[in-house]
């Protein structure tokens, strides 16, 4: 009797489910939790839209699918109640990408929250010249994707998120460009540049990415200076500088002078290094500190040039690039001066030692009696 009742209840629930879900339920597993239900229905709808018509562009697919999805919202809540009674029957074929895979990897038909945020922020960048780096821009971006402007609730840091996202995008684009150039050099299709030129080109390329947003860039910079954004912006800056030096061929912990057979002897090795590499004289920390001093120097150059760019009104920012050239020259000069000072110092020390030995000889102290 009890089993009969249970079967009836289950049957009713199933029928309820079948009615609530408009999409063809047959091939898809029943989803037990609300979140899973939400995501499963997204999946189903995506399937549907994919099978029904070939998507011409990803944005319209998402647009339709989201609109279709919003009508599903109420039905999924209804199905939640029913499906809660259902035992968890998650069939194997669908990869369970809901919680575990938050690393940003593209699931098959699946999007994580991070990716969705990234898409919204990218879309929001269009509206930055109009609304500045603010929640309005994000809201407008979300609307372009067909999402409601309330989805800005996802972004707790609002404009900070937007600016950081933009910076991250610029940095990875720069990295791509540098990697491409490096590949060209390795394939022999391009000449390796001298370090100073390489740095100048890299910084210029990176700063040019700000040009479309130059009007609002002061606002962005001030957002980056907010205390809760500082750690992230510093991290981005340090990875940017590290990447540029890496592609410039910097291998500055290499003290011993042995050339790696793979990398062409790059001028970055001797750029800023006070000594020629001396195999048996592992002169110290100055060469190791190169790792830090190079990055510090480049950070200084990049930041000051960025500031200059903000108030540059010349054609195509000529003044900024001249400023950049001059700063890099300064660093080069300083490095060669340091080199000179140190070799002078060495020579002086040797002279003193010679004088001391001479004195000892003269006074007879060197004799063993």
């Amino acid at each position: 009797m009890a089993t009969l009742l249970r079967a009836l209840r289950a049957g009713r629930a199933l029928r309820g489910l079948g009615g609530a879900l408009a999409a063809p339920p047959a091939t898809n597993p029943q989803c037990s939790s609300l979140r899973r239900g939400f995501q499963c229905s997204m999946l189903r709808l995506q399937d549907e839209s994919k099978s029904d018509r070939p998507p011409d562009s990803s944005s319209t697919t998402y647009h339709e699918h989201y609109q279709a999805h919003s009508t599903e919202q109420d039905t999924t809540t209804a199905s939640h109640g029913a499906s809660a009674a259902e035992p968890e029957a998650e069939d194997a074929p669908r990869p369970n990408t809901s919680y575990q895979d938050q690393s940003g990897e593209q699931g098959e038909e699946y999007e994580t929250e991070e990716q969705l945020q990234a898409r919204i922020l990218t879309a929001a960048l269009e509206f930055v010249p109009q609304h500045g780096w603010s929640m309005e821009a994000i809201a407008s971006g979300a609307e372009t994707l067909g999402l409601s402007s309330a989805s800005t609730g996802m972004f707790h840091n609002g404009s900070g998120d937007l600016v950081l996202h933009f910076i991250a995008q610029c940095n990875s684009q720069l990295t791509e460009i540098l990697a491409e150039q490096h590949k060209q050099v390795q394939l022999g299709q391009a000449e390796p540049k001298k370090t100073a030129d390489f740095l100048r080109d890299a910084v210029e390329t990176r700063l040019r990415m700000h040009i479309p947003y130059i009007e609002t860039w002061p606002q962005a910079m001030s957002i980056l200076l907010l205390p809760h954004n500082i750690p992230d912006s510093l991290k981005h800056l340090s990875t940017l500088v590290d990447d540029i030096w890496y592609y410039a061929g910097d291998r500055s912990t290499d003290v011993s002078g042995s050339h790696h057979p793979r990398s062409p002897p790059s001028s970055a090795h001797t750029f800023l290094s006070p000594f020629h590499h001396h195999p048996h004289n592992i002169r110290p920390a100055t060469l190791q500190m190169n790792w830090y001093t190079k990055r510090a120097a480049l950070t200084g150059i990049y930041n000051t040039t960025e500031l200059v760019m903000l108030q540059d009104s010349s054609a195509d920012f000529e003044d900024t690039w001249n400023f950049l050239d001059n700063r890099i020259q300064d660093v080069v000069n300083m490095a060669s001066t340091a080199k000179q000072v140190q070799s002078t110092g060495e020579a002086v020390v040797q002279g003193l030692m010679g004088a001391a030995v001479t004195l000892k000889n003269l006074t007879g102290m060197n004799q063993r009696r």
Binding site: G104, E114, A168, Y246, T253, V255, S256, S258, H260, R262
Partner: protein, 221 residues
Amino acid sequence: MQRAAHTALYDWSHVLGPAMIRQCLTCRAPLQLSSRAYSVIPPPRDTEEKEMLDRILRVDHAGEYGANRIYAGQMAVLGRSRTGPLIQEMWDQEKKHLEKFNEILAENRVRPTALLPLWNVAGFLLGASTALLGKEGAMACTVAVEESISEHYNSQIRALMEKDPERYTELLKVIKEFRDDEMEHHDTGLEHDAETLPGYWLLKNAIQLGCKAAIYVSQRV
């Protein structure tokens, strides 16, 4: 080249997917710049592993660097004495170790410790001052330092073996080789009358304490 870069710029929104950006940020594994396929460190799977490997490499690099400077200090004092050639030989082996770590650090974009100038000076002073105590002093210093380093390498080997011996075979091989060399130096030091130094026990423990502190700090800074 620049113009191409500039035109590429304006298509960035379509070129880059968000996933790639995350990957670029989270996993800054060595991009394949080297033409050689062989690498001592496996490309890290995630930031946690990268951090762990970074620490290991950073402290090992600092250790070899310090050892170099210690031998340099000893040579500066005892270079022309009878023990000169012996110290020189041990120094040469340390130079090889340092070279290897330099290579690894550069390839894997590991940040060297910022305290290197400090280890430079401290190491040299330690080597020179113990050498001033005579040959036994220099040998005692060698014994103390090499014992610390071997212990340190051993604990690293244990940690890596616990994690995943298969994945880190190359790195383990390198560390084991270096540990064996350091043990050899330790034994050489003992052979050459290190223990006959008055105050040996005190000196040895003081130096080992210093080494432990240096290791702790170099991992983090």
